[in-house]
Symmetry: C2
Subunit: 309 residues, 2 copies
Amino acid sequence: MILTVTLNTALDITYRVPALRPHAAHRVSEVTERPGGKGLNVARVLAALGHEVTVTGFAGGATGRVVRERLTGTPGVTDALVPVADATRRTIAVVDDHTGDTTQLNEPGPTITPTEWSAFQQAYEDLLASASAVALCGSLPPGVPVGAYAHLVRSAKAAGVPVLLDTSGEALRRGVAARPDVIKPNADELAELTGSHEPSRATQDARRRGARSVVASLGEAGLLAVTPEGHWRATPPTRLHGNPTGAGDAAVAGLLSGLVEQLPWPDRLARAAALSAASVTAPVAGEFDREVYEELLGRVAVTSEASAA
Amino acid sequence: MILTVTLNTALDITYRVPALRPHAAHRVSEVTERPGGKGLNVARVLAALGHEVTVTGFAGGATGRVVRERLTGTPGVTDALVPVADATRRTIAVVDDHTGDTTQLNEPGPTITPTEWSAFQQAYEDLLASASAVALCGSLPPGVPVGAYAHLVRSAKAAGVPVLLDTSGEALRRGVAARPDVIKPNADELAELTGSHEPSRATQDARRRGARSVVASLGEAGLLAVTPEGHWRATPPTRLHGNPTGAGDAAVAGLLSGLVEQLPWPDRLARAAALSAASVTAPVAGEFDREVYEELLGRVAVTSEASAA
């Protein structure tokens, strides 16, 4: 199975309102709820691609119960979340029917105790024994040490399990130094890591910091990959409009499934770029439009980039 | 015991954010959760005044479980909520730390099935047998007939239990016609019921529509009461600043406790006005500042109004 780790899971709630006006009272016309957090989104896309996925991380409180109930109903996804005392955070996306824009309210995560963090590390080591690959995704909740991902990367490597890291800030900086197989920063995360806003230079710099391969997701500019086997850029043929939340998670699922299936890099990148584009036309993170995906897959342009390294 | 009915209970969530900007992403700095809905607020105030209170209405889903868990921890309040399949609504108050203003997002209530409505009516009849008074509070969730309060008023009267109705719109219009002992509209609800924006005329018109007594809560202008025993205005001595949410619920608790204690109307009104003012300085609905309440109680001016009826 493929293992995804989401230390800061969420109950993602979407509200539709006619128009959001600060300091007014609003009747919410539609409420949707789903398990959230990057690793859970990655897991849903992997499961839709036919892979067996196990999700771990933390879940607690009434919100954690809802997250777990919903996961139980997702075919192909096995729940191995570790229970914690504090409640899983909510995120609220308020969609303005008039403008189509979204206002996001994100609760802080639960505070993880040292005992809970130890319990997670043990569960993670046990799960690695049967994992073909692992993705470490998203932010760290309060209480988890900032070097957490570095530790989890080292455990995966010690167990011989390929590891992809998708996070930001100091957690990414520390994690990269532990030499993960792949990182997938977006443009902002890459610039924050390297200090460079020039993607080609920054991507290569990120490799020098420890990542074996770097796949930067650059929005409309597609994916830029710098790997030991070569450098490529993957660009979807058309610009799609919709909800960009979850596009990066779909790309991670594409890269991870391609890795497990031992596809050559250009095929992995084509899949990741097509999934990413097809997730933009789906209404929520963790889903993609299969018809759009299949139509785009053969039409993603993957071009070899000159190596400057 | 005093019975309060909240057909549309809520999990009231408050978020603090540095500044709310539409279409931006916000980190919530503080999250608080509490049982909500007018009747639950009334119950908490009554319990703080030393009365035994039973709360009924509907609760369902993960949010309903949290509401019930929290109620269990409230001394003096007995939970007799009727379980439903659909989830209790959330309300989200986003408090802007910069301006102090609040933006409110209210989910629609759960849809109540005919079977659930029948189960509630049976539970309500059973509870009336040991009730000294009943308050019917707030909006109707989807599925509950618009004539619901009229029915519940009639049942209370048939059981010989004094009944106070605090709702709005069509539910109030229908409920008044069933001749409740007291209604407590605010200025907007009163105007909507009677078509008149002149409080004295509107209050008397509301009596003619069926209410035995009408106590209008007019914000800074205090309470205006039109009863068979006389007409009064109760005005607190000072204008207090703070959170007006729950001020009406505190007034209902004052009126109801005064009724059960068989206080003369002027004393009931003084208590209701003092509680209402003391709730404005408390941070959340269903609480009041006891020191402010006790200090104000003797200083509320209750004046007899000339009867124009």
